[in-house]
Amino acid sequence: MTVGLPHVLTLAALLFGIGLYGALSRKNAVHVMMSLELMANAVNLNLVGFSRFVTPEAMTGQFFAVFSMVVSAAEIGLGLALVIAIYRRKRSVELDAVQELKG
């Protein structure tokens, strides 16, 4: 039994799909943020997988994963701050309550 790049990529694709479903279907903003984190996580897994199998010495994928983590940490911080800001105004974290962009 061995582990190959396709195994890692398949796992990442499945995780990403589950995250995508959550991000699209959920009404609760916190839940949507969590689904986005799951997707980012799948992307990082992909990067690390490629790094391990394609560029084991340069570790390029690992560095990309580090920066991707920085960005998603910033994203979740801002996103959750936004959720709280919305909650202050609307008394709700349901995305359906936000309709300001209606033309």
């Binding site: 699209l24 962009l101 033309g103």
Partner: protein, 633 residues
Amino acid sequence: MSMDWVVLIPLLPALAFTVLAPLSRAARARLVPVAVAAVLGSLGLSIAAFLAVWPGGHDAVWQGSFTIAHIGDRAIPLGLALEPMSAIMLLVVTVVGACVQVYSLGYMHREDRIGWYYAVLSLFTAAMLALVLSDNFLGLFMAWEVMGLCSYLLIGFWHEQEAPRLASIKAFLTTKVGDLGFMLALAVVYAEVGAFDFATVLHHDWAAGTATLVALLMLFGAMGKSAQFPLHVWLPDAMAGPTPASALIHAATMVAAGVFLVVRAFPIFEVSGIALTITLWVGLLTALLAGLLATVQHDIKKVLAYSTISQLGFMFIALGAGGSTAALYHLVTHAYFKSLLFLGAGVIIHAAHTQDMREMGGLAKKLPVTSLAFASGSLALAGIVPFSGFWSKDEILTVLLHEHQYAAFAIALLAAFITAFYVARLWFRVFTAPTQQKELHEGHRSMLAPMVALAVITAVIGFFGPTLGDFLGHEIPWPALGTAAISTVAALGGIALGWYVYGRRTSVVNTQAIKQRFPHAYGVLANKYYFDLTYGYFVVGGYTALTRALATFDARVVDGVVNGAAAAWRSLSAAGWTFDGRVVDGAVNGAASAVKAAGDKVRTLQTGSVRGYQTLVAGAVVLLVIWILVKGA
């Protein structure tokens, strides 16, 4: 024959946890037998492991390790090893663990979160078994932390109530203070030796100074886990958890992990010397002061909790005097008789519906089996021959005499006298004092059977002391007649005093009068030497004061800088705004009106629904991906 099945001993309860934890409440409750079966399986395997190690000696019979990570060119392996000491501990943990789990079937059967209780109990058992089997400090530390988590979860099991919730947080934080010491010790060990496994670390050529540092840091960790002065404050409060969990975690196994750690690291302590002296005095202080506290408690579980602290102090005394085998011996006997006492207390609390000893009395007639089993445990705790506590306590006293620690010997003897006194107080108050309640029922069979088993072990295990010594590769002699006589006199004296004050039917000594004659002494004891108040005032209060000071600094200094920068920026942007309004706006407005006209046409597309936009974007991306794939193929 390959001995790799040893791995299964901690793995079986761990698997039981993984099966139970993700399920729903109802499904967990149905699968409780899985947890019981797992711990019984571990018990069987532990007996097999013990027989495989027999007749003992020094060497490990089996060892296995797995590399979890590489840092640079250094590998970090985690391994398990089966040797005499771990074989003994395996038996202690699995026997007490199995007894507690069977007992809990009866004790907790009305609880609707019984499944969760069993899941955490299994995780705890797995961690404790991994701790005793671990062949390196890192694995020991990991198991140690998992146990801390389980202890937190079980103390706070009834988290709907205020007291268990606060107690669980207190226990977690207090032990965490100690754990910090352990963690720093690990860092020093790794910096000095470059490895964690016992063989390398203990045979390292330690300089006395480094050894003292490591030993003291480890001692600090052990003091937190084993509730030694001054980090003992969490254990009495931890009694807010379910009684069988207290029996397993806060009497028999987890609190003994600190003693176990010191026994493991003993060669480092021996190099240091100073660390041994400090260990001795920590133990003496704890044994004496906690014993005194036990004499004024009214809650039956708190009496047992302070007694546990005091007995752990005895183990530290033995360690400090250089008798690691004696400490381990007392750890083993104490695990059996103290868990027995806790299980008995559980039956009593179930029957009497109170934990206050003043509302009990006359239980001996109503609960015959429990009272007999409790008697066995009490006599062992008091140190009466031939029950187990007598032999191991005598062993500790012998070590003290042998090392010419006469002051320590006297204090230990005094602590033994106090122990016998509070045991007698507990016994006479609960079992022989005038009956106060009518409806009293003996516990269920599933609760009595484990207690009887533990009572039998407590009654006979003392005769196997020398055998145990041979097994560990050290000597445990039969007690000398002189020491035995002195300690028996002390124990009988304590019991006699207890009987004189609390036991006589005709004229009960008015304890109120004693309290009034020595109000200061009683106040100090009743307030537990003001430890909780001191910590509350200085540590928690100090922290709050510090945060307040920092907040002031923030408001005065940091905000000032930020505000200044903001003001500068504001004036700059005001200048820009003027330019904007005159020149840029003119151009922009023209363009904007053109765009607005176009936008009016397009705005009907905008529904404003965030989720609608999301779906739109995701759908477009999916279409794009599929298009790329089709084009590429």
